[in-house]
């Protein structure tokens, strides 16, 4: 079994995902695949890509749910590794292949050590691990570690691919270990939450819940319209307006 780092830096790099404005467009998922299939975990193999039931490795998958009742809505939910503070996928690993970085908290797989036993994917309650059958190793979101520190990219591009490409700006990247960071402030302001906190894995990534909806006139302060008096009516009013 693998130990978590004993000495930790303060950084907790992660994502903040805004469910209020995610339209479920899959831009993050596909751009992630596109970047990472040529990145440190390359390739993100696709099996039978042009046949029945193609099956590939994706680090980020989008699910859509319908919520019924008084506040019925459709919620789009992007799902990727949450880079947990207490990741069971690491502690369950028999070889040390799965590990959590002390420096920034990113959870990675060292493919040289991975024996493909899949214990980590069983341990992860979020379903964030992706087994590459062709390579025989487990793969997962790297938080684009080959982008965020990559000096070949200009400063603005040093964010995960999913964040850079998101058309609605529903995804944010930063240091959740720094209470003054923009992402930490956003989590406070919007009451960002942990996914399945009862599991005790303390995810680093946070989700921002949908905001209350403006579904009635009162929410924007609009009084009901009053019909014009019969006398004069609309045309009378128009005359008055234009003579004013």
């Amino acid at each position: 079994m693998t130990s978590l780092p004993h000495t930790r830096g303060t950084a907790r790099l992660g994502l903040v995902i805004d469910l209020d404005i995610c339209v479920g467009c899959h831009a993050c998922a596909v751009n992630c695949k596109e970047w990472n299939t040529g990145g440190v975990a390359a390739p993100l193999t696709d099996l039978k890509p042009y046949d029945a039931d193609p099956d590939g490795v994706w680090f980020n998958r989008i699910h859509s749910y319908e919520v019924n009742g008084e506040d019925a809505r459709t919620v789009h939910f992007p799902r990727s590794c949450l880079h947990c503070e207490e990741p069971a996928c690491v502690t369950v690993c028999p070889t040390g292949a799965s590990y959590k970085r002390a420096e920034d908290g990113i959870v990675l797989v060292n493919e040289d050590l991975c024996i493909g036993c899949k214990l980590c994917s069983w341990a992860c309650p979020y379903g964030a691990r992706e087994y590459d059958l062709d390579a025989g190793v487990m793969k997962k979101c790297t938080l684009c570690i080959d982008r965020i520190y990559n000096e070949h990219l200009d400063e603005a591009a040093r964010v995960p691919a999913c964040v850079a490409t998101c058309p609605t700006s529903a995804r944010h990247f930063g240091d959740l270990g720094d209470p003054d960071s923009k992402v930490s402030q956003l989590v406070r302001e919007r009451e960002g939450y942990d996914l399945m906190p009862e599991m005790g894995y303390k995810p680093t990534n946070k989700y921002l819940p949908p905001r209350p909806r403006q579904r009635d006139a009162a929410s924007i302060g609009a009084p009901a319209l009053e019909p014009l008096p019969q006398a004069g009516g609309l045309l009378g009013l128009i005359d008055r307006l234009l003579s004013g």
Partner: protein, 955 residues
């Protein structure tokens, strides 16, 4: 982020510093029609990464799921490899490969003969082509009027509805004021048009707390994040919109000053029922008349000092009566027909909700007006100290467009905007240059040409009256698709959806060659799909000849249409060619300025394929079409499309690209040819943008600074104001013809229809396909944001997201029909039936079933395995949609289209569903597999990017 130290904490080394590219090229995306700027990183000539260009005006750095899958589109095994000549029966997919010289000689032979005898016997129709400024001009020079692109079944109702009303439209013609809007209404499916700009804008609106209302029978995509979702009955949007207008008028909550100044609401309409000018505008020296409240006199509306009245009844100089257009308008929409209580059942939206939406709109428009401290001067020379606007924006696309009442519904939507003063004011919908244009734009469709002669003008345009129709002396159509005939007078985009059936029937005449580009007419781009396939391969029993004698087709991929071609001209992928996103075509401007762009090849083809635009220019030269050869008969554009993009001039100084014109590259809009123009575009990441002065940003149609800028850029001929045409005199002219006036007679069979639908004011009527046939449910499609039309299915990544589709049914509706999730259901329309799998959900109107568009594929097409999900579980609704309406009195069958514009009415579909009897393991109907042996084998494992994997960093 600082550089990772990796070792400071004893973490294992990770290679974080791999170079992304040894070469970076910018170009323009073509994974949908949105035309975002992209940055392509290459390593060793292979594509490493495609990302959004942060400097680009369309997408500002973001890129959607489709654009991010461009690598897989480019390396698709469905790419055609070489020209093909049919060897087997048409439709069999049996071809032999031929050289380009042979292919072009064959095409030149066929086309040259047609041109020398009867040029209209060439029907040249393109599909999702983005180079219509070239293809349309080619058709004109060839001399065939039988040309159009795909707008007739896509969105001509939106384009025509807008251009005949406000001189602009949504999407490519205008956009919401994303920074200032406080209330945004979205009608119908909009996920494909406009893709990233709307997503970027929605992110802004939601973050700012603006209210978003979605009017759509289905709660998917953008509707999911709306504050309020109104699950309207399909095809009743116009009724809902006009009921909102009714409420606003009843309460007097309209922008009277805006109506009086900027629209034709004050123009006097002649009231003389029996006369030939009844319902037309009273004029003086050509200018419309209005009543001046201050001078108490009838005055030209163009008089700068006019104080126009919107009310009253006046006596003209000739003694006849006239009233302002507004009087007609108020009378119509104050009528109880449009009262919320009247329309609630038909629209499925409670009266209280309609009243509340009206109240919210009024409140935001008039109590939360947006003021920008920017002085401006109007066309009369009056200075305004600030810009005050109505922060209400509306966007609509196909949900309104693809109904047989779409033209009038679109006009109703613009009417609502205008009543609120919410067109091109701060916070509202804003025009994107080159719009606004005169109403309608001044280009008229050209009629047939003599042999070996070009058309007198472009084949498509905007009729201004019956005299501009393309009909013969008997009133019968001159075009193969019957566009611009009495069947579809304002068919500004042509009618691609009628071409094959009409050509097959020889109605109004047979053609010799059907030449198509990127138009998947044997599959997802046709209504009545099975019959269309039959017609494409049908022979005359007496002669044994095909009823459509020759078919030339160009596509980059092995789409369903390829098997029906006699001659296949393989196109390149979008990353292998030049393209021109021209202001003469479909602009990518935004409301603050004009923009255009190019594509440049970022990789070279590894197959024997050529860009279609190059091929068209080559054919033009071989046929010696005017404009394609010089006086000596030599090709005028030996460098093909890039040469044409730079050197072709439509009129002096106006070419395909507006940026860096003039010998020194210093001119914008108008200027001499610049031989270095493409280099300048490439230096500037393949796009050009010109911002207008701040004083021109709003009130554009009436803004002196804007009009001057637009003239200087070549967008308008004259700096004259454009007045919104709420009351359409153009429509009234057609109606008068139906009443027997004028010198262009309306054939009797069309008379009542023209009289009804050429109403000068927007009105609502039920879609032509109704419940009366016994089909209670509406069936429509939505566009998934990660898949665009049919192109995506060959894409290894995108097909993992949308490989199959389901028929989505409301849970309650399904319960009453005894249908469970994943059951096979039989879906029957008046035309046909299909058997497909059901998926139950809650976020859908209970009377509506729906599916994703164009996921279903014919087995074997696109080089997918014969049992691929797309053909096994995927399906099209198209099989259920009839292309002709039922016979009317006299047996005449109209196209299943809008009666004004000819827009294909494929959202009118009505069905009934039942649980399918027996066992099923695939959707029906299924068609014979069309696999091609000479396409590359499908890989079992795709390890794209393995070669880019960085080696471990040395410790």
């Amino acid at each position: 982020m600082p550089k990772s130290s990796n070792f400071a904490f004893g973490d294992p080394p990770v290679p974080t510093q791999a170079p992304v590219a040894d070469e970076v090229k910018y170009t323009t995306c073509y994974m949908c029609a949105c035309r975002c700027g992209i940055k392509v990183s290459l390593r060793d000539g292979r594509i490493r990464y495609i990302e959004g260009n942060r400097d680009h005006p369309v997408n500002r750095g973001v890129l959607c799921g489709k654009g991010s899958a461009g690598i897989m589109q480019h390396y698709s095994p469905a790419r055609l490899r070489k020209p093909l000549l049919r060897t087997g029966a048409r439709g069999s997919g049996e071809f032999r490969e031929i050289e380009w010289d042979e292919a072009l000689s064959i095409a030149t032979g066929w086309l040259g003969t047609i041109r020398a005898n009867d040029p209209k016997k060439l029907a040249f129709f393109t599909g999702r082509d983005q180079s219509q400024a070239l293809t349309g001009w080619w058709a004109q020079q060839f001399g065939t009027l039988n040309y159009a692109a795909h707008g007739g079944f896509c969105s001509v109702n939106m384009a025509a509805g807008g251009l005949y009303t406000i001189g602009g439209s949504f999407w490519e013609f205008g956009e919401p004021d994303w920074e200032n809007t406080r209330y945004f209404m979205l009608f119908g499916v909009a996920e494909d048009h406009d893709s990233n700009p709307i997503k970027i804008g929605l992110g802004h609106l939601k973050t700012r707390g603006a209210k978003v209302v979605s009017v759509n029978p289905i709660r998917t995509g953008y509707s999911a994040i709306a504050d309020e979702w109104l699950g309207i009955q399909p095809g009743t949007d116009g009724l809902f919109i006009l009921a909102v207008a009714h409420e606003l008028l009843k309460a007097g909550k309209i922008d009277a000053d805006y109506l009086a100044r900027y629209t034709n609401a004050a123009w006097l309409v002649i009231d003389d029922p029996a006369s030939a000018d009844d319902g037309l505008f009273a004029r003086i020296d050509g200018a419309p008349l209005a009543f001046d409240r201050k001078r108490n006199a009838l005055v030209s509306f163009h008089d700068p000092d006019l104080a126009p009245s919107l009310t009253g009844e006046y006596t003209l100089a000739d003694g006849r009566k006239a009233v302002p257009a507004f009087v007609h308008l108020a009378k119509r929409y104050l009528d109880e027909r449009y009262a919320p209580d009247t329309v609630a059942v038909e629209t499925g939206i409670p009266a209280e909700t309609i009243k509340r939406i009206a109240a919210e709109l009024a409140h935001v428009a008039f109590e939360q007006a947006v003021t920008i401290e920017q002085p401006w001067t109007d066309w009369t020379g009056r200075r305004h100290e600030r810009m005050v606007g109505r922060p209400i924006s509306i966007h609509a696309m196909r949900g309104i467009s693809a109904h047989s009442n779409g033209f009038h519904t679109c006009r109703a939507l613009h009417l609502l905007q205008v009543l609120l003063g919410a067109v091109d004011t701060p916070g509202a919908f804003r025009y994107e240059p080159p719009y606004p244009k005169p109403i309608p734009p001044g280009i008229k469709p050209a009629g047939p040409a003599a042999p070996n002669t070009p058309l007198a003008g472009p084949p498509l345009g905007f009729p201004q009256g019956p005299g501009d129709l393309l009909v013969d002396a008997a009133g019968e159509p001159l075009r193969i698709d019957k566009a611009f005939s009495w069947e579809a007078p304002l068919a500004a985009h042509g009618m691609l959806h009628t071409v094959i059936a009409n050509a097959h029937a020889g109605d109004p005449y047979p053609v010799d060659t059907l030449f198509m580009y990127m138009a998947n007419m044997s599959w997802n781009s046709a209504m009545n799909t099975a019959e269309t396939m039959r017609m494409l391969a049908d022979k005359n029993p007496e002669t044994g000849d095909y009823k459509i004698p020759r078919i030339i087709y160009s596509d980059a991929y092995y789409s369903e249409m390829v098997a029906f071609a006699d001659l296949v001209l393989p196109d390149t992928t979008y990353l292998e060619r030049h393209d021109c996103i021209s202001l003469l075509d479909r602009p990518i401007s935004n409301a603050d300025g004009a923009a255009d762009a190019i594509r440049q090849p970022v990789v070279q083809p590894d197959r024997d394929v050529r860009p279609f635009q190059d091929v068209l220019i080559d054919l033009g030269a071989r046929l010696k079409l005017p404009g394609f050869v010089d006086d000596a008969g030599k090709p005028k554009y030996p460098g093909f499309f890039p040469d044409y993009m730079v050197n072709h001039q439509r009129k002096p100084g106006v070419g395909m690209l507006a940026g860096w014109r003039g010998a020194d590259g210093e001119d914008a809009g108008i200027g001499a040819v610049n031989p270095q123009q493409l280099e300048r575009y490439i230096e500037n990441q393949c796009f050009w943008q010109s911002r207008m002065p701040a004083e021109a940003h709003y009130f554009k149609p009436w803004n002196k600074a804007y009009l001057a800028w637009a003239v200087a850029m070549g967008f308008l001929d004259k700096p004259e104001p454009v007045f919104i045409q709420l009351y359409s005199e153009t429509l009234q002219k057609f109606r008068l013809a139906a009443r027997g006036h004028g010198d262009v007679p309306v054939p009797d069979k069309h008379r009542a229809r023209v009289e009804t639908y050429f109403d000068p004011l927007p009105f609502w009527y039920p879609p032509f396909t109704s419940e009366a046939d016994g089909y209670a449910l509406h069936a429509i499609t939505q566009r998934p944001m990660a898949m665009y039309h049919s192109w995506g299915s060959q894409n290894a990544w995108l097909r993992q997201i949308h490989g199959e589709n389901r028929l989505h049914i409301h849970r309650e509706t399904a319960r009453t029909l005894g249908i469970a999730d994943e059951d096979w259901v039989k879906v029957t329309s008046a035309h046909s039936s299909i058997t497909v799998k059901a998926k139950l959900m809650d976020g859908v109107n209970t009377d509506t079933v729906w599916t994703w568009n164009a996921i279903g594929k014919r087995s074997g097409a696109w080089n997918l395995a014969p049992d691929a999900n797309e053909s096994r579980g995927g399906f099209l609704l198209n099989h259920l949609i009839r292309d002709l309406l039922p016979p009317r009195e006299g047996g005449y069958r109209y196209s299943n289209s809008d009666p004004v514009t000819g827009q294909a009415a494929w959202y009118d579909l009505r069905v009934r569903i039942e649980k399918a009897a027996g066992q099923h393991d695939r959707s029906e109907p299924a068609f014979r597999t069309v696999e091609r042996a000479d396409l590359p084998p499908r890989p079992d494992v795709l390890r794209y990017g393995q070669i880019f994997r960085p080696k471990a960093e040395a410790s």
